[in-house]
Amino acid sequence: MADRTAAKKEGGRPPDGRPAYVGEGWSPSRIIPIDTGVMEVPELAVVGQPVPRIDGAMKTSGLQRFGADYYMPGMLYLKTVRSPHPHARVLKIDGSEALNRPGVVAVITATDIKGMNRHGLAGPNRPSLIPVGDNVRYIGDPVALVAAETLELAEEAALRVEVVYQPLPSVFDPVEALKPGAPILNYDRDNNLVSDYHMERGDVEKALAGAEVVIENTYSVPTQEHVQLEPEAGIATIDPDGYITVYAASQDPIYILRMINQCLGLPQNKIRVKSLASGGSFGVKSHVNVQVHLALAALVTKRPVKLVWTREESILAHPKRHPAVIRHKLGATRDGKFLAFDVDIIADSGAYPASSKWVFNVLCNAVPGPYDFPNIRVQGKVVATNNPIKGTFRGYGDPQGFTPTEMSIDLLAARLGMDPTEIRLKNGHTQDSRPTQHGVHIDHPVMLEETVRQALAIAGPKPKPSRPGVKVGRGLSSVMPSFDVAGGKWGAMAGTAASVEILPDGGGVVRCGVSEIGVGITTVLAQIASEELGIDIQNIEIVFGDSLISPKAGPSVASRQAYTAGNAVRYACQKLRARMIEIAARDLGVPPEEIWQTWGKFVVETDPSRNLTVQEVALSMYTTGVDREAYHWFRATHAEYGHLYVTAIADIEVDVETGQIEVLQVVNSHDTGKALNPLNVRGQLIGGGSQALGWVLMEDLRVKDGRILTPSLTEYLTPTSMDIPHAYKTVIIEAPYPTGPYGAKGVGEHGMDSTPGAIMNAIFDATGIMLTEWPVTPEKMWRALRERD
């Protein structure tokens, strides 16, 4: 069946009611289309436009419901009882005093759990509630739930659940945790090693010995707290026949469903997970948070239940970014050619393995960045401790792996008297590069140099100091993040499906199991469906995140869904469209090859006055018994991961007397393939850049002996509107990615991956001091300046 789709519009953009100033291709990013000859991108009407969020009206009026915004008749409020100890055996849990209080309906413990009572992203490695006889492993580890008629009653009752602990020796340093005699946290082995990594090519020791210059440095890469605006929250309902529905934000409804099944022993066909729109996540809601507890409480009480974490609880309990100590030995020739890179990493997994195995893999894979190293060795371990859990956070190991490499390269450049840009281009990937990391397939065409050139061009000249007593610095950072393409052999990411339905009145429904964590994927999918089916975006409904209704899309992580779900939706739409063309042809009495699709219509090519609207075709399909729905299961076959290049430039000003750092400008130049929605792409680059700025300059999660000393937003500081750079600039390089929808790659994480190195290098440029630990608070900068002088 010939696929005759011109997707041409009559008379310009489809009418969509948006104001004209948006409709004229307005976008404040500089968009650079590059014709590399590998793919022809069709002329597009909706995809590639700065289409406003389809959920924007709901969000801007506040009427969008998040997990805490649901109320059900007869609902019980839950409160979690948590360990005050970093490591202790649970000897006794006595809820009788709490239960005696009026309005308290249940005190729920692990004895109420009939399943395996284990969940975890990298395997069943963590109990949902710690049973008597087992150990709590971090401050905040849940041991019981209280269910009461009001939140106030639940909170008070929770204080009266008596838990008797026997404190155990704790360990807070990964190095100590590996020594014999350390208390063991892992369930499945008698040591604290969660995962290790070894990658080697060439002979790194010999090459280092022969190198004309060697940079040695050790970096203490810190953790980071997400501070997603919506604390974890949700409700669960239970039908009389035991069917449980859980409503809470997550990043993968099927994963949550499987974990409820695994923990509680409930059959999967009796569980429905609605992964609600999330008030931010940045990875943290890819872990189980309230969902198993909600399902359990619904099961025990047989009533609807609600669980809302406080902000302090969110900070206390949920996993954070993996910190790591990273040692570098970087050897090069005198004219700046990299010869060898020997890297040793030890990272903290915190109390449970969670997703550490995979994050650590990404972290170690990220170390070589976008550069060729003829000899390289990266080895490392991620280790359990009684610290807060470490898990999924935007970048997923990339920021931790890339940033020190970018810093060591600037040290090398300085040692050699070379320009930092020049040394990067001398060693960076070209079209002929071979991958140096494990399992990495470099996606061609290679756009590294283009990202660098465009970043420099838009950055303009380095600013002059604004006043006496300040020094200006410019730093550059080039990275090669990976994004998932549903091409892996196993795991939740190995495949993304979508279905598209044309309604009898010509509207469209797209069903896809993505989660909307705020990046705008639902808008992008609606754009794609609008484009492919030739119908207005307002007439398209996106059904997402529902384990029962929306096809499995895998987790909304790894900057993957624009690519994987975008492809799934696109192909499903094309299948549906082909069917619609057949029906149009049938009804118009011509062969299908003579039907052209234009906006809202199917026309006979040789006589356009003979046509049928989308509505007419859809109704015809309905009345003549033709399937109005098409489904597509997408997996990439060319690679397990995609890669792209991002270059960031940061301009900063350091007040040498106080150590205060002001960020003047952040540039991100991104190898996007195709910006499906330029507003979204820019938003992701700037948002990620802001999170990077926070990580590097002010986000200081202090933990001592397992206790978080910065437990609320008053102590843990993230950037306010008064802290952002004077200017953000973004460049979107559109060198189409052949297997991506319209050439698109991913983008969500990448501002966070690229920007930290740029800021640290800017500090080096301004002061001559390469700090090896951050956040660079004013005092830290001041001390470094004083020590040097």
């Binding site: 700065p50 406003p52 009427l63 501070v227 729109a277 964590i517 705008g520 993230t718």
Partner: protein, 161 residues
């Protein structure tokens, strides 16, 4: 002890009443008792601004107002500025300029931004930053929000409503 009492509020132009404990916050009452879920709780201690509402024409954090203090007051929430059927140009600008990502902070931002435009119809970029200084946004990095507010200022002439 701690007897609940009835308070009267005019919320988005509609008279409402609720029976509230002496220590209840306006945030809890608006959400849990009066169904105004457009007022979001991000921290409950005034650090994040997600719960911003107009209280007698002044933007404040609802989490730091005792419900009883608001007895007889006029409250405007983001849903009172505009709803999907009838968005305010400021809200449209948030949509058009990419000022919305996850949307959790958005209703609070709308209140602070509206307060600015009511008082200063031609704000500078710095004015906008100051007006939003009590509102966290973790998704956007504020940039496209600021652009939205500046764009809205061009369209709105500073009248109330």
């Amino acid at each position: 002890m701690y007897d609940p009492q009835t308070i009267r509020l005019k919320i988005n132009g509609v008279e409402e009443e609720a029976t509230v404990k002496p220590y209840a916050t306006l945030l809890d009452v608006l959400r849990d008792q009066l169904g105004h879920i457009e007022v979001k709780e991000g921290c409950a201690v005034g650090d994040c601004g997600a719960c911003a509402v107009f209280l007698d024409s002044t933007p404040v954090c609802a989490c730091l107002v005792l419900a009883r203090q608001a007895d007889g007051a006029e409250i405007i929430t983001a849903a009172g500025i505009g709803t999907p059927e009838n968005l305010h140009p400021l809200q449209e600008a948030f949509m058009d300029y990419g000022g919305i990502q996850c949307g959790f902070c958005t209703p609070g931002l709308i209140i602070s931004a509206k307060a600015l435009l009511d008082e200063n119809p031609h704000p500078t970029q710095q004015d906008v930053k100051v007006a939003l200084s009590g509102n966290y946004c973790r998704c956007t990095g504020y940039e496209q929000v600021i652009e939205a507010v500046l764009a809205a200022a061009e369209k709105v002439d500073g009248r109330h409503g």
